[in-house]
């Protein structure tokens, strides 16, 4: 094993939103920072759904909204319950906005560039093989037969976290704790997007679809409008999918693209990219017992820090903010004499006090709710039957109560509905 002479204050593994932001903040505070990314460029291995909440990022990056690669500001939100060829949709439009659409490939790249501008050294094409330990303390990383050393290591390797598994810090991922996302990015001219979705330039749409879109497997579908493309994809709980899926997963995405309700949007589009990634789904199970060790902090997806609110993900802002806090924590630890386990405890404490852990605790039961079958098949069906009774008028018309009873007949008991409604309203 060859030890490289140059030593760093911090080595950050992975230039996703978590790692790039940690490196940015560390370099900004003057620490000698090495950011390592296995991809050819930062962002070349990144994939996500499509929408980022901006508020936490504005705390970290100066002039974020002016400089970052923002495609469109989300001003229209739709949630649809799909059953067969119909959908019941809630649409919320507002001129105020707190989120934007983008490609994570671009945003990660941009964040890594900010880190470099602050003086961090970014090495791409470097796959870290192991964390390096000296006298029981994390003191660097191993790449092939070479060791690069540092005072502290920040693990931002994302959800697959091979390095943490190798250290025995986490167990092997269970399919029941993650979801699989598969998406197509479809090229459309900006004007076409504006016309199809009723948007102005720079205005974006976020559209979540539940129900008949995932072959009854818990999950859902998403549509996000980018500047000159639309991201369209599905998410399924991996454990359930592994047990139940009986067709190829890509067919689900293709059927969505060709769905009678959606076909009109995509018929003139061309697929620009097809991508896939795992998503942390159950933070309570995924989170390591602690996020700090002697010389090591764990941030972002690797730490399971993703908030699923049922109708939206907060992964990017959570990841970035955890990286930011880890950097701040290192500054404190450094002031107290170094990155010992005792001194890095502050990372977990700061995280607990931030919105990151507060929100994760608040929504801790959502992932269990998300496994409820009724939510994904029975209710979308029920609501659409109800709607069709009320809307599809030929001779007779239905009263609401009549339509409801008719729709519900033999499908689900009233007691269940009330119980589920109560559960949803409490957990979401």
């Amino acid at each position: 094993m060859k030890h490289i002479e140059k030593r760093f204050d911090a080595i950050v593994v992975g230039a996703g939103p978590a790692g790039a932001t940690a490196a940015y903040q560390l370099a900004k505070m003057g620490y000698k920072t090495l950011l390592l990314e296995r991809g050819r460029t930062p962002g070349s291995k990144s994939m996500f759904g499509g929408r980022v909440y901006i508020r936490p990022l504005k705390d970290i990056y100066e002039d974020f909204e002016k400089k970052a690669p923002i495609h469109r500001w989300v001003k229209k939100e739709r949630i649809s319950l799909v059953y067969d060829e119909s959908a019941t949709t809630i649409e919320y439009t507002s001129n105020k906005t707190t989120s934007f659409t983008t490609y994570l490939t671009q945003l990660s790249h941009w964040m890594a560039n900010q880190a470099v501008e602050q003086g961090a050294i970014l090495l791409t094409e470097i796959r870290v093989d192991r964390l390096y330990k000296e006298d029981g303390r994390y003191r660097g990383v191993v790449v092939e037969d070479e060791v690069v050393k540092s005072d502290v290591v920040i693990d931002a390797e994302g959800i697959n976290r091979l390095l943490l598994e190798r250290e025995g810090i986490v167990e092997k991922l269970s399919p029941d704790h993650v979801a699989l996302g598969v998406k197509e990015v479809i090229k459309l001219e900006p004007d076409t997007i504006n016309n199809l979705f009723g948007l102005d330039n720079n205005e974006g749409l976020s559209w979540i679809l539940m129900g008949d879109v995932t072959d009854g497997i818990p999950g859902g579908a998403f549509i996000y409008t980018n500047r000159d493309s639309v991201s369209l994809g599905i998410v399924v709980l991996l454990g359930e999918a592994a047990r139940r899926i009986d067709r190829h997963i890509y067919i689900l995405v293709e059927e969505l693209r060709n769905h009678p309700l959606l076909y009109k949007y995509f018929k003139d589009g061309r697929i620009m990219e097809y991508s896939t990634h795992l998503i942390p789904e159950d933070p309570s199970r995924l989170m390591p017992k602690k996020l700090y060790y002697d010389g090591l902090m764990i941030v972002g997806d690797a730490a399971g820090l993703l908030l699923n609110q049922g109708y939206t993900y907060r992964g990017v802002d959570f990841a970035a903010y955890s990286g930011y806090i880890a950097a701040k924590a290192y500054e404190k630890a450094h002031g107290n004499g170094g990155a010992s386990e005792e001194n890095l405890k502050i990372y977990q404490k700061m995280l607990e006090e931030s919105f990151v852990m507060k929100m994760l605790r608040k929504f801790s039961s959502v992932s269990r709710l998300m496994k409820k079958e009724r939510l994904f098949s029975t209710y979308p069906q029920l609501i659409n039957l109800l709607a069709s009774k009320l809307m599809h008028i030929e001779y007779d018309s239905y009263k609401l109560k009549e339509a409801f009873d008719e729709a519900r007949k033999g499908r689900v008991g009233l007691i269940h509905i009330i119980k589920d409604l109560w559960e949803v309203s409490r957990k979401l």
Binding site: T41, R243, I249, Y263, I271, E273
Partner: protein, 101 residues
Amino acid sequence: MTTETEVKKRKISRIEDILNNDVWDVDYEPHIIVDYSKCRECEWKPCIRLCPAECYTMVGGEVLFSYEGCLECGTCRVICPEKAVKWEYPKSGRGIHFRFS
């Protein structure tokens, strides 16, 4: 409005054609190795349906894996019930290169 005929015209693309839009710098050695002997014992073979890039196919009644089109999601590693999948990320920046995701 979407007309009836347009709906009939709608088509599911082949996975090969969809993947054709992606960019790889394929490594010369595989980053994933599958122990086929274990696949024979595996009844439900979830990788065949769940690998989004269809890297796992059935040929002549047996599982065949090819790493070239892998999108590096990790699904096969996580779902394989038989621990047949030895899984790493590619080295030296090789593998999938996402641009618009």
